[in-house]
Symmetry: D3
Amino acid sequence: MKEYFIDLSKFMMANSSFEESDGVIFSVPYDGTTSFKPGTREGGNAIRISSWGLETYSPILDRDLSELKYCDLKDLDLYGNQEEIFNTVYSVSKEILKEGKKIIVFGGEHSITYPIVKAVKDVYKDIIVIQFDAHCDLRDEYLGNKLSHACVMRRIYELTKHIFQFGIRSGDREEWKFAKKNNIYLKMDLMNKDDLKYIIELDKPIYLTIDIDVLDPAYAPGTGTPEPCGFSTKELLNSLYLLKKVKDKIVGFDIVEVSPIYDPANITAITAAKIVRELMLMIL
Amino acid sequence: MKEYFIDLSKFMMANSSFEESDGVIFSVPYDGTTSFKPGTREGGNAIRISSWGLETYSPILDRDLSELKYCDLKDLDLYGNQEEIFNTVYSVSKEILKEGKKIIVFGGEHSITYPIVKAVKDVYKDIIVIQFDAHCDLRDEYLGNKLSHACVMRRIYELTKHIFQFGIRSGDREEWKFAKKNNIYLKMDLMNKDDLKYIIELDKPIYLTIDIDVLDPAYAPGTGTPEPCGFSTKELLNSLYLLKKVKDKIVGFDIVEVSPIYDPANITAITAAKIVRELMLMIL
Amino acid sequence: MKEYFIDLSKFMMANSSFEESDGVIFSVPYDGTTSFKPGTREGGNAIRISSWGLETYSPILDRDLSELKYCDLKDLDLYGNQEEIFNTVYSVSKEILKEGKKIIVFGGEHSITYPIVKAVKDVYKDIIVIQFDAHCDLRDEYLGNKLSHACVMRRIYELTKHIFQFGIRSGDREEWKFAKKNNIYLKMDLMNKDDLKYIIELDKPIYLTIDIDVLDPAYAPGTGTPEPCGFSTKELLNSLYLLKKVKDKIVGFDIVEVSPIYDPANITAITAAKIVRELMLMIL
Amino acid sequence: MKEYFIDLSKFMMANSSFEESDGVIFSVPYDGTTSFKPGTREGGNAIRISSWGLETYSPILDRDLSELKYCDLKDLDLYGNQEEIFNTVYSVSKEILKEGKKIIVFGGEHSITYPIVKAVKDVYKDIIVIQFDAHCDLRDEYLGNKLSHACVMRRIYELTKHIFQFGIRSGDREEWKFAKKNNIYLKMDLMNKDDLKYIIELDKPIYLTIDIDVLDPAYAPGTGTPEPCGFSTKELLNSLYLLKKVKDKIVGFDIVEVSPIYDPANITAITAAKIVRELMLMIL
Amino acid sequence: MKEYFIDLSKFMMANSSFEESDGVIFSVPYDGTTSFKPGTREGGNAIRISSWGLETYSPILDRDLSELKYCDLKDLDLYGNQEEIFNTVYSVSKEILKEGKKIIVFGGEHSITYPIVKAVKDVYKDIIVIQFDAHCDLRDEYLGNKLSHACVMRRIYELTKHIFQFGIRSGDREEWKFAKKNNIYLKMDLMNKDDLKYIIELDKPIYLTIDIDVLDPAYAPGTGTPEPCGFSTKELLNSLYLLKKVKDKIVGFDIVEVSPIYDPANITAITAAKIVRELMLMIL
Amino acid sequence: MKEYFIDLSKFMMANSSFEESDGVIFSVPYDGTTSFKPGTREGGNAIRISSWGLETYSPILDRDLSELKYCDLKDLDLYGNQEEIFNTVYSVSKEILKEGKKIIVFGGEHSITYPIVKAVKDVYKDIIVIQFDAHCDLRDEYLGNKLSHACVMRRIYELTKHIFQFGIRSGDREEWKFAKKNNIYLKMDLMNKDDLKYIIELDKPIYLTIDIDVLDPAYAPGTGTPEPCGFSTKELLNSLYLLKKVKDKIVGFDIVEVSPIYDPANITAITAAKIVRELMLMIL
């Protein structure tokens, strides 16, 4: 019977078995620390469904998803408090990475990047984390929580000093001071060729985290804390295409903060899906 | 890895294999003849996702979905024109029915009931079709199409004279004349105990088709042709509970015309999901 | 060329010329005094477009719109301040009524009923006004305006003492006192057979005004000041069907306060359209 | 300057100082354990804003809000994890109750009722809790959390055995067993006069908790876990009006689970606001 | 009476009779082959209604719609299957063109362009077709249909080899191969002055087809298959203004794929209306 | 008790008393002359609520709202007809300005700028008005009203000849003629350094009025008359940052035409809030 049916709830073309996959998609439907507008828990499935409105072929990369091997494990089944949930995210990520597979994670809110990076570090030791985001997320704690979405890069900074932040246009004064004081590579603009040079020179495994709010709210209205004065999708992708030079170094990426309830025409989800397609076509 | 993940895109608890299943869910994402407001193609997946907001246990029936064996084949992969698509619906339905399994189908528009009933008839020969609907759907053709959603009961009437129509409050004059002239069992009210007697007496396999617009638009706004002056969900379910008396006779049912784009708070989808749960708990 | 095209922006079947019409539809896209949520200016066109989702035949009245003669003049072209606009409403209404035609008016807000009733009175002298509404609208002035939607029945009471108010469940204390003191026929319930007797006895021309918010917000969410604890569409229509006994006395009616921007699934507009269809089938 | 301005973000007529108030409104914008659809954190402010679309006068109770003395403290400023937040809810509630004032709390999700009831118990010792809800909320734990919204009545049952549950139509099998085994007063129907007798006989201080999902999704679409087959607003209010007999016993109430993002026409919020108005007119 | 009323359902200023018109607007409410998100059938009327929010004067072209002569025939009344419908589109288009009038067509989905171009070819013989679109629409067949929206340019290529495709950023690998192999003028960028030279040199009648999804989803969210990385409205209009040089050669244009149900703030429709205004001011 | 609560209905950080404030925020919930899509009356509160999604710190200006002293008086309590309302706006504005405080006003529709500018003129005599807008608003009257939103700059021109209009891309022919004839400084582009020179040279108190529709509908969908081909938020802010050079001259500003009912993801309101934050950080 299977041949008559189609499962539109997987990311398109995710037809390989786990074993044969070079890339493994899963989502973390967690928005427990979201302070402004909740709803990112449904982001992963929105990206999956929207992916079917795109082609599998990228004319810019001249590659097709049918050439890749990847699977989609769907939503992590959350249980317990934030610590327990993050332990699961960590374990699952590590297990996948240890088998030499690349991970592609859909949020959920940005806090989930921390346990993933922890797993990446434990597997790859010395790593680079590249972030595209409107917010620097460098608070030491937020509303009494050290694992808040607003603190994620601060926690990651404790794992690796090699963090690169692009598109940043929001944060409180303390965060900017912290970045300056610690010489963190924080730019209001997107990554350009000169920025990439530093990354190339470091010559380390790279994990990439994309908060969809790096885009302007016009391009990505469906997100928890939209921040005006952002970038267009074309600008973001042109910056990401630069990473082709280090594509073999990239061991995984996430795309977080897609919030379908604030995305009435689904343009945020389909934009996230296109970014995922292009990145998968680059790194797998 | 599987144990860490959950697939929210299946109807809840649809965990059995096809082989061991007593009931088989699938959906037909077809709205090609819809004349007023399209969008029912996404109805099946909306019902699935919404089901997770319900409990698996029904206090009225004192039964739990975990006691049943059923699977969910997801969306039929449509290809070709209406005739080709309907051939597939027919073949798939027949194949399932022939193995003695009951079918549970999510629309899509109401026209899809025709190939299903054709399969039911071919397997079970002499059958009863019970319809809950706002519209009698007895046109001979509509906008030049004999397989339009507006003609589905007319076509079915050509398959079996044992049709029972409940909740009907809309149709053109010709349809009402046709019903009267042919002594069709058509009622503006829902099925009551007296109506059921006739059905019991016939003592034949029963197929049940529920157009969600039998409910008032207040209860089911998300549908293609909402018709005011309908019923509440409680009234509909109380009528359906009467079918417990003939539950072994029921070989399948469909629920059609759920249109998520007109269902901003998802109440239509969750209402459909509850009807599905209660019917499955009754007939499986 | 005309025969190939259809104008979905008229109320369905409004195909007669003005001259041959027994009934004349027009709308007044005015919401200038709306105090809570504006938007009823677009109500008329929403009713028109939604009408195409209904059948032209009423099984309850066993009549079809194709048997009637009526036209649809569309939106009044508003110009000037409230007084000037109301003068135009008055003149247009009077001109239609003087030719012995019945008027069917779509709001806009409820204040527009005043100039219509003034025209009705000037043509028919001694008249009855029957109102279905959640609010008594008996304030002497509201926010400094004597022609506010909240004052419309007070102004009409100055034109005729024969007012009947049904479904009323909201007003300030002064309004209820005024109604009691002046022995106004105000009921929280809908009109029943006993109420109708008084109307029949008076034996005068009748104008009917329906504020869609007489329905519960579940049935008519798209309105300016939704008031919980209202009626279902079925209850309202059953009450209106009683008017068949005085159908020849009814010289016109309006339906007001439909607000499409708060009606995401269009159920309020289609409900209003069905009420219009049933009333036209009764009085034309 | 103050006299020229109006603050539409308070519940209407909440013009008394804290000191002179007999009733104190506040809201708890917490939805941290919400498992299905988040967003109730914004419920309180939606109720406030919607209240301005209602009159201050109730024709049924023949009382006006202007006769009462109450204030609105707005949103509790949340900080820390669930335990810390609940401690604040507890302290604030207790402080208000200790001054002999009645509390009116807007959710947020249902879990917030637990710390309130704890405060009520600590101040009034032996108390009755009456719940109107679609769900029995009697789980011992949910997703690893004993303070989940799905466990609130189980926790409250540990504080007082005098709990009355009305409108209940959903729960898992264990919850229904627990209720039966412990002789909990759980009814699928709303409270009637006979039910009230038991409450009167107990002759104890009463706290009332209303989950808006006791209403049918048609009447209250904007909620986290809508459950079909519920009640109309009129049915609910008619049941609540019975409490006039024990109005002096009622020391406070909450209304929870209003979720504005799923309430596109705001009818859920305005319905909640009307319930609040009627209850305040009864108990203050 | 007519002078008191306004018909907001026509494109603004479409006040000429068919006979005296230089341009004729009509719409084709067809979305029967739409594979992803249906709803473009309502696109034409959304463009019409939105046009009233614009001025009739263009400061860039320094021309006013009041200087033009055009009429609006509204929606084609669809009947029958796709072939029959397309025959009607063809006949109507041809009849208008034969009288030397220019045609302005609102979709519906993109497939409708095929019968229009067929009519243009039959009247004008050797023609140029310029397309602005995100998708190349060069598939030979799609889901078993050779007349699918995804095949429209392939079919048109069979009518004329003079096709120019601009803004293209999506298609499957076969389509790009086909374009390359056949030397089709396909560009990812919009038309610039150099591109125009080729068009001018050809010196033939021009038909222009604009798929609104050539714009980025930020600018045109309301469309069937939004494709990220598109253009701004300003960029598109600046490209279209170049056509002033060949304005007398342009015999008509269409604008397709506007889908109001995914356009909650109507910005897609108003953007389409502005494009229509500017093009009419250029070519009529 | 106050310390436990937060009032999210004020613009963030508006914690100073009126007396100690250097800037005073208030809103005018008036949309009485709106001709196309009403709803801007709720714009002010939408801006306030959205402000809480932003940081208080601006990395570009390196200033924090906590360094400023300002209060928020909330909504003006409207009463009477347009003239009476405008008198109140005038009086309140004047009273604030006379105490040397700067005013920050949220619309409502654009017509409200006239009484504010009248107050500014009466206090500061010879003034400059800088407008950012899609529409020139230079009509002498509109729909019979000289105080319409479409006439506001014409009325202001009668108060001062020093008006500067930027971003203008819409108006009728007469308006453009009037501007040309009277040498009004009207530009289709945003203000650049050269434009600023003229303003600096004039050396007069400046009032700034920003109609949110100067932005493209992609960036500000939630407005009464969206006009395609506008600017991005980044472009607008970069132009506004130029005003730092004359920041001490600026005595107030307004931001008008935010319409939350057409702003489903709230991006218009949050964009307006960011503009307000940046301007306050510049001028207070």
